[in-house]
Symmetry: C2
Subunit: 201 residues, 2 copies
Amino acid sequence: MKKDDSTEEKILAAARKVFTAKGMAGARMQDIADEAGINKALLHYYFRNKEQLFENIFKKLSQGFWQQISQVFDSEEALFKKIESFCSMYIEKVIHNPYIPLFIMHELNQRPVNFVKKMFNDNPPNPNRLVMQIQAEVKAGNIRPIAPQQLIMNMISMCVLPFIGKPMFMSVMNVDEKTFNDLMQKRKTEVPEFIINSIKK
Amino acid sequence: MKKDDSTEEKILAAARKVFTAKGMAGARMQDIADEAGINKALLHYYFRNKEQLFENIFKKLSQGFWQQISQVFDSEEALFKKIESFCSMYIEKVIHNPYIPLFIMHELNQRPVNFVKKMFNDNPPNPNRLVMQIQAEVKAGNIRPIAPQQLIMNMISMCVLPFIGKPMFMSVMNVDEKTFNDLMQKRKTEVPEFIINSIKK
DNA sequence: GTCTATAACTCGATAGAC
DNA sequence: GTCTATCGAGTTATAGAC
């Protein structure tokens, strides 16, 4: 039997879908059971309770979320190239998983501050390499002076927020689904261009 | 009796606090009653049910959210000045109401697409004036070519996302509350500077 | 492992006294 | 208007048959 067909995998896929769409508080075990094509009792057989099922999903998602970021942050690429790689990779990823960032941020805001740290206790993401790279480019006079933290926040913000605010943007800008998707596709090159134009000398 | 001391006002203030922190699904009528210093039955006396109380809060918040944006978007200022006004006004506002954007976006993502439109049926926000202003500046050759929608998304993204992702940024960048707040204060000038550097010729 | 049935509990809502 | 007490629907979780 393929791994994806196992009951456990079906539950995890269903739970991921329901939790990311409705959040922990809004999700019902019944919804997850229905989505997985099984009954509620089986959920408790595989995962003792709702909390454990949630944590399983949440930990996996948030670690994956940052693992991919860290890979780019730590790569050997030059700064401008790295900015391009990050934005296109990241926007592409979020196009295919539009609910994940809002889900993670909503759930993190419900929990104590050190919950994030606990989540990454084995492998905490850290942007040090990118920070030092930015500082070096500033020092070398290749880009204008800017605080690395601010630049990194700007980059992540522009990649992620349009998806989190999709319903609002669609309504306010009066665009349909297709037009919105086109705009997002274009952002894969627009955002890095915007950033590089701002920091280059 | 001052308006703020009336029971209705106490309920609204409590509901706002609890709903924005926990979301509609996560909020309990008991939490709101406790926060307001009254009992559950009184909530139902003033607002028939949870849904009506929620809609009251949500409508007020989301309209206020956009009303302030629209004011700046429609002002008579020149483009660069307008960008500065928007960012400093907006970041300042979110510093004092850090939960609101995440709350609004989370709730909007739970509801049908035309829920947003229904919310603004009387006074839909529209960025047309700013869009035309950007187009004019591009045409006049005062700024480099850029799609107005992309520029507007960039601006809003950089103002809002750091607050939505606060727990994550704090953990990943390893900064404490005070340092985070300092970074946000600086963003009131950093963000417009970042944008203008990118689009100016 | 998977199901049905149901226990145990949470929570929104109402009844009714004051 | 405000409170206490309680109902009843909906949910998580468990028991027990297969």
